[in-house]
Protein backbone atom coordinates (compact mmCIF):
# COMPACT_ATOMS: atom_id res chain seq x y z
CA UNK A 1 0.00 0.00 0.00
CA UNK A 2 1.17 3.51 -0.79
CA UNK A 3 1.75 5.42 2.44
CA UNK A 4 1.95 8.93 1.00
CA UNK A 5 -0.04 8.78 -2.24
CA UNK A 6 0.11 11.65 -4.71
CA UNK A 7 -3.54 12.42 -5.41
CA UNK A 8 -5.14 14.96 -7.74
CA UNK A 9 -8.66 16.08 -6.78
CA UNK A 10 -11.27 17.63 -9.07
CA UNK A 11 -14.25 19.64 -7.82
CA UNK A 12 -17.08 21.03 -9.98
CA UNK A 13 -20.26 20.67 -7.89
CA UNK A 14 -21.20 24.36 -7.90
CA UNK A 15 -19.51 27.46 -9.31
CA UNK A 16 -15.86 26.71 -8.49
CA UNK A 17 -13.68 24.65 -10.80
CA UNK A 18 -11.10 23.28 -8.39
CA UNK A 19 -8.00 21.16 -8.96
CA UNK A 20 -5.97 20.30 -5.87
CA UNK A 21 -2.99 18.03 -5.41
CA UNK A 22 -1.87 16.44 -2.13
CA UNK A 23 0.85 14.01 -1.13
CA UNK A 24 -0.67 12.07 1.74
CA UNK A 25 -1.62 14.85 4.17
CA UNK A 26 0.62 17.47 2.57
CA UNK A 27 -1.04 20.15 0.43
CA UNK A 28 0.87 20.82 -2.81
CA UNK A 29 -1.62 23.05 -4.60
CA UNK A 30 -5.17 24.32 -4.25
CA UNK A 31 -5.97 25.88 -7.63
CA UNK A 32 -9.47 27.30 -8.11
CA UNK A 33 -11.21 29.09 -10.95
CA UNK A 34 -14.53 30.64 -9.96
CA UNK A 35 -17.42 31.73 -12.16
CA UNK A 36 -18.90 33.78 -9.30
CA UNK A 37 -18.56 37.07 -11.21
CA UNK A 38 -20.77 35.72 -13.99
CA UNK A 39 -23.59 35.03 -11.52
CA UNK A 40 -23.59 38.48 -9.89
CA UNK A 41 -26.17 40.05 -12.21
CA UNK A 42 -28.55 37.14 -11.58
CA UNK A 43 -28.25 37.35 -7.78
CA UNK A 44 -27.49 33.64 -7.44
CA UNK A 45 -25.68 30.72 -9.06
CA UNK A 46 -27.17 29.87 -12.47
CA UNK A 47 -26.46 26.16 -13.09
CA UNK A 48 -26.10 26.45 -16.89
CA UNK A 49 -23.67 29.35 -16.59
CA UNK A 50 -21.65 27.45 -13.98
CA UNK A 51 -21.53 24.37 -16.24
CA UNK A 52 -20.33 26.41 -19.23
CA UNK A 53 -17.63 27.98 -17.09
CA UNK A 54 -16.44 24.55 -15.84
CA UNK A 55 -15.88 23.40 -19.43
CA UNK A 56 -13.77 26.44 -20.27
CA UNK A 57 -11.86 26.41 -16.97
CA UNK A 58 -10.99 22.75 -16.61
CA UNK A 59 -7.84 22.25 -18.70
CA UNK A 60 -6.32 25.65 -17.79
CA UNK A 61 -6.97 24.98 -14.09
CA UNK A 62 -5.44 21.51 -14.39
CA UNK A 63 -2.36 22.94 -16.09
CA UNK A 64 -2.01 25.66 -13.47
CA UNK A 65 -2.33 23.13 -10.64
CA UNK A 66 0.35 20.84 -12.10
CA UNK A 67 2.69 23.80 -12.57
CA UNK A 68 2.03 25.08 -9.05
CA UNK A 69 2.61 21.68 -7.46
CA UNK A 70 5.65 20.93 -9.62
CA UNK A 71 4.43 17.44 -10.46
CA UNK A 72 3.51 15.69 -13.71
CA UNK A 73 0.48 13.54 -14.46
CA UNK A 74 2.77 10.52 -14.70
CA UNK A 75 3.66 10.96 -11.00
CA UNK A 76 0.04 10.60 -9.80
CA UNK A 77 -1.01 7.58 -7.74
CA UNK A 78 -4.72 8.37 -7.93
CA UNK A 79 -7.33 10.84 -9.12
CA UNK A 80 -10.37 11.80 -7.04
CA UNK A 81 -13.46 13.63 -8.24
CA UNK A 82 -16.66 14.93 -6.66
CA UNK A 83 -19.50 12.66 -7.81
CA UNK A 84 -22.13 14.48 -5.70
CA UNK A 85 -23.99 16.05 -4.09
CA UNK A 86 -24.23 19.21 -6.20
CA UNK A 87 -25.60 20.66 -9.43
CA UNK A 88 -26.14 17.87 -11.94
CA UNK A 89 -24.81 19.57 -15.08
CA UNK A 90 -21.84 21.02 -13.22
CA UNK A 91 -20.92 17.65 -11.66
CA UNK A 92 -20.99 16.04 -15.11
CA UNK A 93 -18.25 18.31 -16.45
CA UNK A 94 -15.85 17.46 -13.63
CA UNK A 95 -16.70 13.76 -13.70
CA UNK A 96 -16.28 13.55 -17.50
CA UNK A 97 -12.95 15.35 -17.25
CA UNK A 98 -11.76 13.13 -14.40
CA UNK A 99 -12.65 10.00 -16.32
CA UNK A 100 -10.82 11.23 -19.42
CA UNK A 101 -7.82 12.00 -17.23
CA UNK A 102 -7.97 8.52 -15.70
CA UNK A 103 -8.22 6.84 -19.12
CA UNK A 104 -5.46 8.92 -20.68
CA UNK A 105 -3.03 8.44 -17.77
CA UNK A 106 -4.02 4.94 -16.69
CA UNK A 107 -4.44 6.22 -13.11
CA UNK A 108 -7.09 4.79 -10.73
CA UNK A 109 -10.10 7.05 -10.15
CA UNK A 110 -12.08 7.53 -6.93
CA UNK A 111 -15.57 9.09 -7.09
CA UNK A 112 -16.15 10.81 -3.77
CA UNK A 113 -18.67 12.71 -1.69
CA UNK A 114 -18.40 16.50 -1.69
CA UNK A 115 -19.71 16.94 1.86
CA UNK A 116 -17.31 14.43 3.34
CA UNK A 117 -14.51 16.14 1.39
CA UNK A 118 -15.33 19.34 3.32
CA UNK A 119 -14.36 17.35 6.42
CA UNK A 120 -11.40 15.63 4.74
CA UNK A 121 -9.79 18.99 4.16
CA UNK A 122 -9.16 19.06 7.92
CA UNK A 123 -6.15 16.79 7.48
CA UNK A 124 -4.39 19.47 5.41
CA UNK A 125 -2.52 22.65 6.19
CA UNK A 126 -1.98 21.98 9.87
CA UNK A 127 -5.71 22.34 10.59
CA UNK A 128 -5.47 19.32 12.89
CA UNK A 129 -1.68 18.89 13.37
CA UNK A 130 -2.12 15.42 14.88
CA UNK A 131 -4.68 14.17 12.39
CA UNK A 132 -8.44 14.16 12.70
CA UNK A 133 -9.49 13.92 16.35
CA UNK A 134 -11.96 11.40 17.70
CA UNK A 135 -15.52 12.38 18.63
CA UNK A 136 -15.50 14.63 15.58
CA UNK A 137 -18.43 16.52 14.10
CA UNK A 138 -18.63 18.88 11.17
CA UNK A 139 -20.89 21.88 10.66
CA UNK A 140 -20.97 22.73 6.95
CA UNK A 141 -22.57 26.01 5.93
CA UNK A 142 -22.46 27.31 2.37
CA UNK A 143 -24.53 28.63 -0.52
CA UNK A 144 -25.30 25.08 -1.57
CA UNK A 145 -25.71 23.19 1.69
CA UNK A 146 -26.17 23.35 5.48
CA UNK A 147 -25.43 20.18 7.44
CA UNK A 148 -24.27 18.81 10.77
CA UNK A 149 -22.35 15.54 10.48
CA UNK A 150 -20.95 13.00 12.92
CA UNK A 151 -17.62 11.70 11.65
CA UNK A 152 -16.58 8.35 13.14
CA UNK A 153 -14.10 7.52 10.39
CA UNK A 154 -13.50 9.66 7.33
CA UNK A 155 -13.39 6.69 4.96
CA UNK A 156 -16.32 4.62 6.21
CA UNK A 157 -18.35 6.10 9.05
CA UNK A 158 -20.04 9.44 8.45
CA UNK A 159 -23.59 10.15 9.58
CA UNK A 160 -25.89 13.04 8.70
CA UNK A 161 -27.42 14.34 11.95
CA UNK A 162 -29.28 17.29 10.47
CA UNK A 163 -29.58 19.49 7.40
CA UNK A 164 -31.64 22.26 5.89
CA UNK A 165 -35.01 21.12 4.58
CA UNK A 166 -35.26 23.99 2.07
CA UNK A 167 -32.76 26.78 1.32
CA UNK A 168 -29.11 26.56 2.25
CA UNK A 169 -28.01 29.26 4.70
CA UNK A 170 -25.91 30.96 2.03
CA UNK A 171 -28.92 31.01 -0.26
CA UNK A 172 -30.96 32.72 2.46
CA UNK A 173 -28.25 35.39 2.67
CA UNK A 174 -28.36 35.87 -1.12
CA UNK A 175 -32.14 36.16 -1.24
CA UNK A 176 -32.27 38.52 1.73
CA UNK A 177 -29.51 40.66 0.22
CA UNK A 178 -31.64 40.95 -2.92
CA UNK A 179 -34.66 42.06 -0.91
CA UNK A 180 -32.49 44.69 0.79
CA UNK A 181 -31.01 45.79 -2.54
CA UNK A 182 -27.51 44.67 -1.59
CA UNK A 183 -25.09 42.90 -3.94
CA UNK A 184 -24.28 39.26 -4.59
CA UNK A 185 -22.95 37.26 -2.87
CA UNK A 186 -25.20 38.25 0.00
CA UNK A 187 -23.15 36.85 2.89
CA UNK A 188 -20.28 39.36 2.94
CA UNK A 189 -22.63 42.29 2.17
CA UNK A 190 -25.00 41.47 5.03
CA UNK A 191 -22.16 40.64 7.43
CA UNK A 192 -20.56 44.03 6.72
CA UNK A 193 -23.80 45.97 7.13
CA UNK A 194 -24.79 44.02 10.25
CA UNK A 195 -21.83 45.47 12.15
CA UNK A 196 -23.64 48.82 12.26
CA UNK A 197 -27.07 47.37 13.07
CA UNK A 198 -28.90 46.20 16.17
CA UNK A 199 -29.30 42.41 16.08
CA UNK A 200 -32.20 42.63 18.54
CA UNK A 201 -34.12 45.32 16.60
CA UNK A 202 -36.46 42.82 14.93
CA UNK A 203 -37.21 39.33 16.17
CA UNK A 204 -37.13 37.17 13.03
CA UNK A 205 -38.33 33.54 13.30
CA UNK A 206 -35.99 30.66 14.06
CA UNK A 207 -37.21 27.89 11.72
CA UNK A 208 -38.10 24.42 13.08
CA UNK A 209 -37.47 25.50 16.69
CA UNK A 210 -40.97 24.75 18.04
CA UNK A 211 -41.34 21.79 20.42
CA UNK A 212 -43.29 19.74 17.87
CA UNK A 213 -40.21 19.73 15.61
CA UNK A 214 -37.62 19.52 18.38
CA UNK A 215 -39.05 16.90 20.72
CA UNK A 216 -36.68 15.90 23.51
CA UNK A 217 -33.29 14.17 23.66
CA UNK A 218 -35.07 10.94 24.59
CA UNK A 219 -37.91 11.34 22.07
CA UNK A 220 -36.52 13.56 19.29
CA UNK A 221 -39.01 15.40 17.07
CA UNK A 222 -38.93 15.02 13.30
CA UNK A 223 -36.53 17.96 12.78
CA UNK A 224 -34.54 18.19 16.01
CA UNK A 225 -31.27 19.04 14.22
CA UNK A 226 -32.72 20.30 10.93
CA UNK A 227 -32.97 23.86 9.69
CA UNK A 228 -35.41 25.80 7.53
CA UNK A 229 -34.59 29.23 6.12
CA UNK A 230 -37.37 29.88 3.61
CA UNK A 231 -39.75 31.31 6.26
CA UNK A 232 -37.03 33.67 7.42
CA UNK A 233 -36.63 35.13 3.95
CA UNK A 234 -40.39 35.70 3.78
CA UNK A 235 -40.36 37.36 7.21
CA UNK A 236 -37.66 39.78 6.05
CA UNK A 237 -39.68 40.60 2.94
CA UNK A 238 -42.78 41.28 5.04
CA UNK A 239 -40.85 43.48 7.43
CA UNK A 240 -39.41 45.53 4.55
CA UNK A 241 -42.90 45.92 3.16
CA UNK A 242 -44.24 47.21 6.45
CA UNK A 243 -41.64 49.98 6.52
CA UNK A 244 -42.35 50.83 2.88
CA UNK A 245 -46.13 50.90 3.36
CA UNK A 246 -45.70 53.16 6.38
CA UNK A 247 -43.47 55.44 4.31
CA UNK A 248 -40.62 54.98 6.75
CA UNK A 249 -36.96 54.84 5.90
CA UNK A 250 -35.75 51.25 5.80
CA UNK A 251 -33.43 50.46 8.75
CA UNK A 252 -31.25 48.33 6.49
CA UNK A 253 -28.46 47.79 9.00
CA UNK A 254 -30.90 46.71 11.73
CA UNK A 255 -32.67 44.31 9.36
CA UNK A 256 -29.35 42.87 8.19
CA UNK A 257 -28.13 42.44 11.76
CA UNK A 258 -31.44 40.92 12.92
CA UNK A 259 -31.56 38.54 9.94
CA UNK A 260 -27.98 37.46 10.51
CA UNK A 261 -28.62 36.93 14.20
CA UNK A 262 -31.62 34.71 13.43
CA UNK A 263 -29.61 32.58 10.97
CA UNK A 264 -26.54 32.27 13.15
CA UNK A 265 -28.51 31.70 16.37
CA UNK A 266 -30.49 28.78 14.98
CA UNK A 267 -27.51 27.23 13.15
CA UNK A 268 -25.27 27.28 16.20
CA UNK A 269 -27.87 26.30 18.79
CA UNK A 270 -28.97 23.24 16.81
CA UNK A 271 -25.40 22.28 15.89
CA UNK A 272 -24.22 22.45 19.49
CA UNK A 273 -27.30 20.51 20.62
CA UNK A 274 -26.51 17.77 18.08
CA UNK A 275 -22.90 17.66 19.28
CA UNK A 276 -23.90 17.34 22.93
CA UNK A 277 -26.41 14.61 22.23
CA UNK A 278 -23.96 12.60 20.09
CA UNK A 279 -20.82 12.83 22.20
CA UNK A 280 -19.11 15.18 19.74
CA UNK A 281 -16.31 17.07 21.47
CA UNK A 282 -14.46 18.36 18.39
CA UNK A 283 -16.31 20.40 15.78
CA UNK A 284 -15.01 21.41 12.36
CA UNK A 285 -16.73 24.43 10.79
CA UNK A 286 -16.55 24.37 6.98
CA UNK A 287 -18.20 25.69 3.83
CA UNK A 288 -18.10 29.17 2.34
CA UNK A 289 -20.22 30.75 5.10
CA UNK A 290 -17.56 29.69 7.63
CA UNK A 291 -15.93 33.00 6.68
CA UNK A 292 -18.90 34.86 8.22
CA UNK A 293 -17.73 36.91 11.22
CA UNK A 294 -20.83 36.45 13.37
CA UNK A 295 -21.16 32.73 12.62
CA UNK A 296 -17.58 32.13 13.71
CA UNK A 297 -18.03 34.28 16.80
CA UNK A 298 -21.23 32.66 18.05
CA UNK A 299 -20.12 29.12 17.14
CA UNK A 300 -16.90 29.66 19.12
CA UNK A 301 -18.82 31.09 22.07
CA UNK A 302 -21.36 28.29 22.25
CA UNK A 303 -18.82 25.54 21.60
CA UNK A 304 -16.65 26.88 24.42
CA UNK A 305 -19.63 26.92 26.79
CA UNK A 306 -20.41 23.31 25.88
CA UNK A 307 -16.82 22.10 26.18
CA UNK A 308 -16.48 21.51 22.43
CA UNK A 309 -13.20 22.31 20.68
CA UNK A 310 -13.93 24.31 17.53
CA UNK A 311 -11.62 24.21 14.50
CA UNK A 312 -12.02 26.33 11.38
CA UNK A 313 -9.76 25.55 8.39
CA UNK A 314 -8.16 28.39 6.43
CA UNK A 315 -10.76 30.25 4.29
CA UNK A 316 -9.40 28.87 0.99
CA UNK A 317 -9.91 25.35 2.34
CA UNK A 318 -13.46 26.10 3.59
CA UNK A 319 -14.90 27.17 0.24
CA UNK A 320 -15.38 24.53 -2.47
CA UNK A 321 -12.00 23.41 -3.78
CA UNK A 322 -10.11 20.50 -5.33
CA UNK A 323 -7.67 20.10 -2.44
CA UNK A 324 -10.42 18.79 -0.16
CA UNK A 325 -11.36 16.22 -2.79
CA UNK A 326 -7.72 15.18 -3.11
CA UNK A 327 -7.34 15.07 0.68
CA UNK A 328 -10.30 12.73 1.13
CA UNK A 329 -9.16 10.72 -1.89
CA UNK A 330 -5.74 10.25 -0.31
CA UNK A 331 -7.31 9.00 2.94
CA UNK A 332 -9.37 6.47 1.01
CA UNK A 333 -6.32 5.32 -0.99
CA UNK A 334 -4.28 4.99 2.21
CA UNK A 335 -6.93 2.69 3.65
CA UNK A 336 -6.54 0.40 0.64
CA UNK A 337 -10.02 0.93 -0.82
CA UNK A 338 -10.71 -0.14 -4.39
CA UNK A 339 -11.10 2.61 -7.01
CA UNK A 340 -14.55 3.46 -8.39
CA UNK A 341 -13.73 2.59 -12.00
CA UNK A 342 -14.84 4.84 -14.85
CA UNK A 343 -18.45 3.71 -15.42
CA UNK A 344 -20.11 5.49 -12.47
CA UNK A 345 -22.62 8.30 -12.84
CA UNK A 346 -23.02 11.56 -10.97
CA UNK A 347 -25.50 11.76 -8.07
CA UNK A 348 -26.80 15.28 -7.31
CA UNK A 349 -28.18 14.07 -3.97
CA UNK A 350 -25.48 11.61 -2.93
CA UNK A 351 -25.99 10.78 0.78
CA UNK A 352 -23.06 11.33 3.18
CA UNK A 353 -23.08 7.64 4.02
CA UNK A 354 -21.68 7.01 0.52
CA UNK A 355 -18.19 8.40 0.97
CA UNK A 356 -16.71 6.87 -2.17
CA UNK A 357 -18.68 5.15 -4.92
CA UNK A 358 -18.03 1.43 -5.28
CA UNK A 359 -17.03 0.12 -8.71
CA UNK A 360 -20.18 0.03 -10.85
Amino acid sequence: MITQPLVLGIESSCDETGVGIVRGTELLTNTVSSSMDEHVRFGGVIPEIASRAHLEAFVPTLQAALDDAGVTLADLDAIAVTAGPGLSGALMVGVSAAKALAVATGTPLYAINHLVAHVGVGILGGTFPDGLPSNLGALLVSGGHTEILRVGDLAHDVELLGSTIDDAAGEAYDKTARILGLGYPGGPAIDRLARDGDPTAIRFPRGLSQPKYMGTAEAPGPHRYDWSFSGLKTAVARSVEQYETAGLELPVADIAASFQEAVVDIITSKAVLACREHGITNLLLGGGVAANRRLRELTAERCAAAGITLTVPAPALCTDNGAMVAALGAQIVMRGAQPSGIAFGTDPSLPVTTIALPRS
Binding site: R41, F42, G43, I46, E48, I49, S51, R52, H54, L55, F58, V59, L62, Q63, L73, S88, G89, M92, V93, V95, S96, A97, K99, A100, L101, A102, V103, A104, T105, R178, I179, G181, T234, V236, A237, R238, V240, E241, E244, I342, A343, F344, G345, T346
Partner: protein
Protein backbone atom coordinates in the same frame (compact mmCIF):
# COMPACT_ATOMS: atom_id res chain seq x y z
CA UNK B 1 -3.76 9.18 -40.41
CA UNK B 2 -5.07 7.81 -37.11
CA UNK B 3 -7.97 9.81 -35.67
CA UNK B 4 -10.06 9.41 -32.52
CA UNK B 5 -13.42 11.11 -33.01
CA UNK B 6 -16.05 11.88 -30.36
CA UNK B 7 -19.50 13.27 -31.01
CA UNK B 8 -21.97 13.85 -28.18
CA UNK B 9 -24.36 16.26 -29.88
CA UNK B 10 -27.00 13.51 -29.87
CA UNK B 11 -25.97 10.07 -28.59
CA UNK B 12 -22.51 9.49 -27.12
CA UNK B 13 -20.43 8.15 -30.02
CA UNK B 14 -16.74 7.31 -30.38
CA UNK B 15 -14.81 6.17 -33.46
CA UNK B 16 -11.23 5.27 -34.20
CA UNK B 17 -10.36 5.78 -37.87
CA UNK B 18 -7.31 4.95 -39.93
CA UNK B 19 -7.85 7.37 -42.80
CA UNK B 20 -11.39 6.50 -43.93
CA UNK B 21 -11.42 3.02 -42.44
CA UNK B 22 -13.28 2.46 -39.19
CA UNK B 23 -10.99 0.61 -36.79
CA UNK B 24 -13.39 0.75 -33.85
CA UNK B 25 -16.63 2.41 -32.90
CA UNK B 26 -19.09 2.87 -30.06
CA UNK B 27 -22.56 4.35 -29.96
CA UNK B 28 -24.81 4.55 -26.91
CA UNK B 29 -28.49 3.81 -27.21
CA UNK B 30 -29.63 6.87 -25.29
CA UNK B 31 -28.85 10.56 -25.17
CA UNK B 32 -28.65 11.08 -21.42
CA UNK B 33 -25.75 9.01 -20.12
CA UNK B 34 -22.77 10.62 -21.85
CA UNK B 35 -20.82 11.21 -18.63
CA UNK B 36 -21.15 7.52 -17.75
CA UNK B 37 -20.40 5.80 -21.05
CA UNK B 38 -17.97 8.01 -22.93
CA UNK B 39 -14.68 7.34 -21.12
CA UNK B 40 -15.22 3.55 -20.96
CA UNK B 41 -15.97 3.63 -24.70
CA UNK B 42 -12.75 5.49 -25.47
CA UNK B 43 -10.79 3.07 -23.34
CA UNK B 44 -12.34 0.02 -25.00
CA UNK B 45 -12.05 1.29 -28.57
CA UNK B 46 -8.34 2.03 -28.09
CA UNK B 47 -7.62 -1.20 -26.23
CA UNK B 48 -9.42 -3.35 -28.82
CA UNK B 49 -7.27 -1.81 -31.57
CA UNK B 50 -4.13 -2.02 -29.42
CA UNK B 51 -3.60 1.70 -29.92
CA UNK B 52 -2.28 4.07 -27.27
CA UNK B 53 -3.35 7.69 -27.14
CA UNK B 54 0.03 9.06 -28.12
CA UNK B 55 -0.16 7.07 -31.40
CA UNK B 56 -3.02 9.29 -32.56
CA UNK B 57 -2.56 12.02 -35.15
CA UNK B 58 -5.44 14.01 -33.72
CA UNK B 59 -8.51 13.98 -31.51
CA UNK B 60 -11.65 15.22 -33.29
CA UNK B 61 -14.61 16.57 -31.33
CA UNK B 62 -18.12 17.37 -32.49
CA UNK B 63 -18.81 20.91 -31.25
CA UNK B 64 -22.57 20.75 -31.68
CA UNK B 65 -25.06 22.19 -31.85
CA UNK B 66 -26.68 19.74 -29.46
CA UNK B 67 -28.19 19.48 -25.97
CA UNK B 68 -25.75 21.23 -23.64
CA UNK B 69 -25.00 18.65 -20.98
CA UNK B 70 -24.08 15.86 -23.36
CA UNK B 71 -22.18 18.21 -25.63
CA UNK B 72 -20.03 19.41 -22.72
CA UNK B 73 -19.26 15.86 -21.60
CA UNK B 74 -17.82 15.15 -25.04
CA UNK B 75 -15.88 18.39 -25.29
CA UNK B 76 -14.28 18.22 -21.86
CA UNK B 77 -13.37 14.59 -22.56
CA UNK B 78 -11.77 15.44 -25.92
CA UNK B 79 -9.91 18.44 -24.51
CA UNK B 80 -8.57 16.43 -21.59
CA UNK B 81 -7.46 13.48 -23.74
CA UNK B 82 -5.68 15.82 -26.15
CA UNK B 83 -4.02 17.66 -23.25
CA UNK B 84 -2.71 14.49 -21.60
CA UNK B 85 -1.60 12.73 -24.78
CA UNK B 86 -0.16 15.88 -26.32
CA UNK B 87 -1.92 15.28 -29.65
CA UNK B 88 -3.67 17.96 -31.77
CA UNK B 89 -7.34 18.67 -31.11
CA UNK B 90 -9.81 19.82 -33.76
CA UNK B 91 -13.49 20.66 -33.70
CA UNK B 92 -16.00 19.84 -36.41
CA UNK B 93 -19.52 21.22 -36.49
CA UNK B 94 -21.71 18.20 -35.77
CA UNK B 95 -24.16 18.97 -38.60
CA UNK B 96 -21.18 18.87 -41.02
CA UNK B 97 -20.80 15.18 -40.17
CA UNK B 98 -24.32 14.42 -41.42
CA UNK B 99 -23.84 16.61 -44.49
CA UNK B 100 -20.60 14.80 -45.34
CA UNK B 101 -22.22 11.39 -44.89
CA UNK B 102 -25.23 12.27 -47.08
CA UNK B 103 -22.99 13.52 -49.89
CA UNK B 104 -20.71 10.48 -49.60
CA UNK B 105 -23.77 8.21 -49.88
CA UNK B 106 -24.95 10.07 -52.98
CA UNK B 107 -28.22 10.93 -51.25
CA UNK B 108 -28.15 14.66 -52.07
CA UNK B 109 -26.23 14.79 -55.35
CA UNK B 110 -25.82 18.14 -57.01
CA UNK B 111 -28.34 20.12 -54.97
CA UNK B 112 -28.49 22.49 -52.06
CA UNK B 113 -29.81 20.73 -48.99
CA UNK B 114 -30.48 21.13 -45.29
CA UNK B 115 -29.26 19.22 -42.27
CA UNK B 116 -31.60 19.26 -39.28
CA UNK B 117 -31.36 17.58 -35.88
CA UNK B 118 -33.47 17.48 -32.73
CA UNK B 119 -33.03 20.58 -30.58
CA UNK B 120 -35.87 19.50 -28.21
CA UNK B 121 -38.51 22.07 -27.08
CA UNK B 122 -40.16 21.73 -30.52
CA UNK B 123 -37.15 23.15 -32.34
CA UNK B 124 -34.40 21.93 -34.65
CA UNK B 125 -30.74 22.70 -35.08
CA UNK B 126 -30.16 23.26 -38.79
CA UNK B 127 -27.76 24.45 -41.48
CA UNK B 128 -27.84 24.60 -45.27
CA UNK B 129 -25.19 23.15 -47.58
CA UNK B 130 -24.22 23.04 -51.26
CA UNK B 131 -23.07 19.78 -52.76
CA UNK B 132 -20.67 20.86 -55.49
CA UNK B 133 -19.00 17.54 -56.28
CA UNK B 134 -16.19 17.96 -53.73
CA UNK B 135 -15.97 15.52 -50.82
CA UNK B 136 -16.71 18.25 -48.31
CA UNK B 137 -20.03 20.01 -48.93
CA UNK B 138 -19.96 23.76 -48.62
CA UNK B 139 -21.73 25.28 -45.60
CA UNK B 140 -24.04 27.99 -46.91
CA UNK B 141 -25.83 29.10 -43.78
CA UNK B 142 -26.04 28.20 -40.12
CA UNK B 143 -25.99 26.58 -37.75
CA UNK B 144 -29.21 27.99 -36.36
CA UNK B 145 -31.86 26.85 -33.91
CA UNK B 146 -35.54 27.38 -34.62
CA UNK B 147 -38.96 25.88 -35.26
CA UNK B 148 -39.10 23.46 -38.19
CA UNK B 149 -41.64 25.72 -39.88
CA UNK B 150 -39.07 28.52 -40.15
CA UNK B 151 -36.56 26.54 -42.25
CA UNK B 152 -35.95 27.45 -45.93
CA UNK B 153 -38.73 25.81 -48.00
CA UNK B 154 -38.35 23.14 -50.63
CA UNK B 155 -34.85 21.88 -49.88
CA UNK B 156 -34.33 18.22 -49.03
CA UNK B 157 -33.45 17.71 -45.36
CA UNK B 158 -30.94 15.23 -43.97
CA UNK B 159 -31.28 14.23 -40.31
CA UNK B 160 -33.74 13.34 -37.58
CA UNK B 161 -35.72 16.59 -37.92
CA UNK B 162 -37.25 15.04 -41.06
CA UNK B 163 -39.00 12.31 -39.08
CA UNK B 164 -39.87 14.63 -36.17
CA UNK B 165 -41.46 17.32 -38.37
CA UNK B 166 -42.58 15.57 -41.60
CA UNK B 167 -45.20 18.25 -42.31
CA UNK B 168 -42.61 21.04 -42.32
CA UNK B 169 -39.68 19.60 -44.30
CA UNK B 170 -38.86 17.40 -47.31
CA UNK B 171 -37.14 14.28 -46.04
CA UNK B 172 -34.16 12.53 -47.57
CA UNK B 173 -35.61 9.09 -46.72
CA UNK B 174 -32.35 7.24 -46.08
CA UNK B 175 -31.35 9.93 -43.57
CA UNK B 176 -34.70 10.71 -41.96
CA UNK B 177 -33.69 9.35 -38.55
CA UNK B 178 -29.95 10.02 -38.77
CA UNK B 179 -28.06 11.77 -35.98
CA UNK B 180 -24.50 13.09 -36.06
CA UNK B 181 -22.08 10.28 -35.32
CA UNK B 182 -18.37 10.01 -34.56
CA UNK B 183 -17.68 7.90 -37.65
CA UNK B 184 -18.98 10.52 -40.08
CA UNK B 185 -17.46 13.26 -37.94
CA UNK B 186 -14.05 11.58 -38.18
CA UNK B 187 -14.43 11.08 -41.93
CA UNK B 188 -15.45 14.71 -42.44
CA UNK B 189 -12.43 15.80 -40.41
CA UNK B 190 -10.14 13.51 -42.39
CA UNK B 191 -11.43 14.89 -45.71
CA UNK B 192 -10.77 18.42 -44.50
CA UNK B 193 -7.31 17.60 -43.21
CA UNK B 194 -6.41 15.90 -46.52
CA UNK B 195 -7.78 18.86 -48.48
CA UNK B 196 -5.88 21.22 -46.15
CA UNK B 197 -9.09 22.95 -45.21
CA UNK B 198 -9.31 24.60 -41.80
CA UNK B 199 -11.02 22.88 -38.91
CA UNK B 200 -12.63 24.53 -35.88
CA UNK B 201 -11.43 24.83 -32.32
CA UNK B 202 -13.61 23.12 -29.71
CA UNK B 203 -15.77 26.07 -28.68
CA UNK B 204 -19.25 24.60 -28.13
CA UNK B 205 -22.05 25.81 -30.39
CA UNK B 206 -24.79 26.28 -27.80
CA UNK B 207 -26.87 28.60 -30.03
CA UNK B 208 -29.11 29.30 -27.05
CA UNK B 209 -28.41 31.44 -24.05
CA UNK B 210 -28.74 29.91 -20.61
CA UNK B 211 -32.31 30.31 -19.39
CA UNK B 212 -31.19 32.69 -16.67
CA UNK B 213 -33.06 35.97 -16.34
CA UNK B 214 -31.58 39.07 -14.80
CA UNK B 215 -34.00 39.94 -11.99
CA UNK B 216 -35.91 43.13 -12.67
CA UNK B 217 -36.11 45.99 -10.21
CA UNK B 218 -38.02 45.02 -7.09
CA UNK B 219 -41.47 46.49 -6.83
CA UNK B 220 -42.74 44.97 -3.62
CA UNK B 221 -40.63 43.07 -1.15
CA UNK B 222 -42.88 40.02 -1.13
CA UNK B 223 -43.14 39.88 -4.93
Amino acid sequence: MLLLALDTSAAATVALLLDDDVVGRFGSGDTRSHAEVLAPAVQRVLADADVSGSDLDAVIAGVGPGPFTGLRAGLVTARTLSFVWGVPLHGVMSLDALAFEAVAAGAVGGTDFLVGTDARRGEVYWASYRSSGAAVPELLEGPHVGAAGTLPRGLPLVGRAASLYPADVVAVPAFATADPDAVSLGRAAHARLVARQPLLDTTPLYLRESDARVPGPRKRATA
